[in-house]
């Protein structure tokens, strides 16, 4: 286009200002991408969830136990295919910083309920035979350089503070990239044997698989009805609802992240809006001459908008590019503390879209100012 040169010349006329404005966009978009990645990671539980899985917890809270005796009653409800039970162990490996989730599992049924977490059959067979056996996710194994056959002490925090010894018998991996590969599983029998008397016979939660996802509502209600008015009332939810509730325990992360993002973009809007307004005001005389020699009001508006949008486009691409380079490193640094960190195409597109929108809005006011400016007044002002 024949006006490109004029727009480009205007864009680059104040180099330092251009760099600072591009920098604001880049920083804001980098931060946006970063926040979006963290938000996605927290929300990921819902994507991982199986549509045909229900989670049964104690109605009071997930940290209250449920009797193991409920298992058979649950199995008898029509539509339930298989049930496993888990406990939260909450142990520490060497140092508190080395957090990863340890679950006490029901070895007979765990694999049928979580078929997407794959353990080789020979490893699983060894695990079943080994009372102190453990299966660990690939990420956690890599993180601590554990191999099959290693003996691992994990210090209990809830059930006394002795160290419990485990043998790594197997390593599982997830079928899909978003599957959680940080868990550590060990046998119910070993747990039951070592916990104090008061804790025996209590499990943390049940996870069950249905014959069909369509049964979810009916089965959930049937379970909760069955145990209503008992000392251990239950709350049964789909796994995705459960995951969403789990994230909420950390506070309303989504709201927090959205509000930070909104503040960042609002600030960006003010900064660029101000910069555009200043640069248009500085050029009043020139714009007046352009108008005098026949450039129309819309064209002047177009020049200002094109400039603002070019800044937002280049700055936005810069920030998103930096984020794309930084996210893998960040994922490594966090090392399994959060589920897989992924900068999705949707996030990139949204980021660029918002950047362009900010560019457009920040150029709009100065652009209209330039459009409305009257030549005779502008030339007289000097």
């Amino acid at each position: 286009m024949k006006f490109t040169r004029l727009i480009w010349a205007n864009l680059t006329r104040k180099k330092i200002r251009l760099i600072l404005t591009l920098g604001s966009f880049a920083v804001a978009l980098f931060l946006f991408a970063f926040l979006a990645v963290v938000k996605d990671a927290f929300g990921r539980g819902a994507d991982v969830a199986g549509a045909d899985r229900l989670v049964v917890i104690n109605r009071t809270s997930i940290i209250n136990p449920i009797p193991l005796s409920y298992r058979d009653k649950i199995l008898r409800i029509p539509g339930v295919k298989v049930v496993t039970h888990n406990n939260w162990f909450g142990g520490i490996y060497q140092d508190e910083k080395n957090f990863f989730p340890q679950f006490v599992i029901d070895p007979e049924n765990q694999r049928q309920v979580f078929p997407e977490l794959i353990v080789p059959d020979d490893q699983w067979a060894n695990f079943l035979k080994d009372r102190q056996g453990a299966i660990v996710g690939e990420k956690t194994a890599e993180r601590f350089h554990w191999k099959i056959g290693d003996r691992i002490p994990i210090k209990s925090t809830i059930y006394g503070n002795a160290a419990w010894e485990f043998n790594i018998d197997g390593i599982y991996h997830g079928k899909r990239p978003q599957d959680d590969e940080t868990q550590f599983w060990f046998q119910w029998d070993y747990f039951e044997e070592r916990v104090p008397e008061r804790a025996k016979g209590n499990i943390g939660w049940y996870v069950l698989r249905l014959n069909s996802p369509d049964d979810a509502v009916r089965v959930a209600k049937a379970i909760d009805d069955q145990f209503a008015n008992s000392p251990y009332e239950t709350k049964t939810q789909t796994e995705s609802a459960f995951a969403a509730g789990w994230v909420k325990q950390f506070g309303n992360i989504e709201f927090l992240i959205l509000s930070i993002g909104a503040v960042v973009f609002f600030t960006l809007l003010l900064v660029t809006g101000n910069t555009m307004a200043i640069s248009v005001r500085e050029r009043t005389g020139e714009l007046a001459v352009l108008k005098a020699i026949g450039f129309g009001d819309q064209m002047v508006l177009f020049f200002v908008l094109a400039e603002a949008i070019a800044i937002s486009l280049f700055g936005g691409l810069l920030g998103l590019g930096l984020a794309m380079m930084a996210v893998p490193g960040l994922a490594r640094a966090l090392n399994g503390l959060l589920p897989a960190l992924v900068l999705s195409k949707a996030t990139l597109a949204l980021g660029l879209g918002v950047a362009l929108l900010v560019g457009l809005i920040s150029g709009l006011l100065p652009g209209i100012m330039a459009m409305r400016m009257r030549v005779i007044n502008a030339l007289r002002r000097v």
């Binding site: 004029l6 010349a9 007046a288 020699i293 026949g294 009001d297 030549v375």
Partner: protein
């Protein structure tokens, strides 16, 4: 022929009964009062008058930058006083070459690119534009400064670039508002010789505002703005009255 009695006919520029009143706060200032003017093709007119007498106002009205309170202006048969704003913008691009006292050039564009600006509004191809720009720059004697930026040019050279830009699209007439106001005597003389040549050799029609009787003396006719109307008078006579420096 230039007339100020409103009795001419068939002139290139015809101004009839022009009034312009500005409102500032509660009071209104009547700057132009029933002004008449006829300018033929190829005329070179200088406007003089004390500061605030309305010279710039008149020029802006004839250039379609402002609209009169009442009265009419027609140029080459087009009545511009009733055109819409966007029509007027297009009309300016076709018919008027502007030369202001300052702030004429875009500092981030070269002389060539500045002169090319009015042609960007036409359908000319890039190579045709280049030809026209080179011709205009050679008319003002700046072929060798084509790729210089305004800050690399002297004030006189900048004004010559402005003149090149004003003539590049071959407009119907040129409007100059104190074109030498910011220049030293030598540069001013060069600019005036250039404008004279445009009139004499290229048949341009020029309307110019100036405070300087020496500059005004170059024009065919000098008109004075007095009480909102134009009156004829020779620059020489006025210069003599002012102390005799011609």
């Amino acid at each position: 022929m230039v007339r100020v009695d409103g009795k001419g006919s068939g002139a290139l520029i015809q101004v009839r009964g022009l009034n312009k009143t500005y409102k500032r706060g509660g009071e209104s200032i009547q700057v132009l009062q029933g002004l008449n003017l006829d300018v033929d093709k190829g005329d070179f007119v200088a406007f003089m008058g004390p500061s605030g007498s309305g010279k710039t106002t008149l020029l802006n009205l004839m250039g379609g930058l402002d609209v009169p309170t009442s009265g009419t202006i027609s140029v080459d048969g087009d009545e511009i006083t009733h055109m819409s704003a966007s029509k007027l913008t297009q009309w300016r691009a076709r018919h008027v070459g502007f030369i202001f006292q300052m702030y004429n050039l875009i500092p981030v564009l070269t002389a060539f690119q500045n002169v090319e600006l009015p042609l960007l509004l036409t359908k000319l191809s890039a190579s045709d534009r280049k030809k026209h720009v080179e011709t205009a720059l050679s008319v003002v004697g700046l072929s060798d400064r084509m790729h210089h930026y305004p800050r690399q040019l002297s004030g006189g050279q900048e004004q010559r670039v402005t003149i090149a830009r004003a003539i590049v699209s071959d407009p119907t007439f040129l409007l100059c508002d104190e074109p030498t106001g910011d220049l030293d005597r030598k540069s001013a003389t060069e600019i005036m010789e250039l404008i004279e040549a445009l009139v004499a050799k290229h048949g341009k029609t020029v309307l110019m505002v100036t405070h300087d009787p020496v500059v005004a003396a170059r024009a065919h006719t000098t008109l004075h703005l007095e009480k909102g109307e134009l009156v004829e008078g020779s620059a020489e006579r006025l210069a003599a009255m002012a102390g005799g420096h011609v």
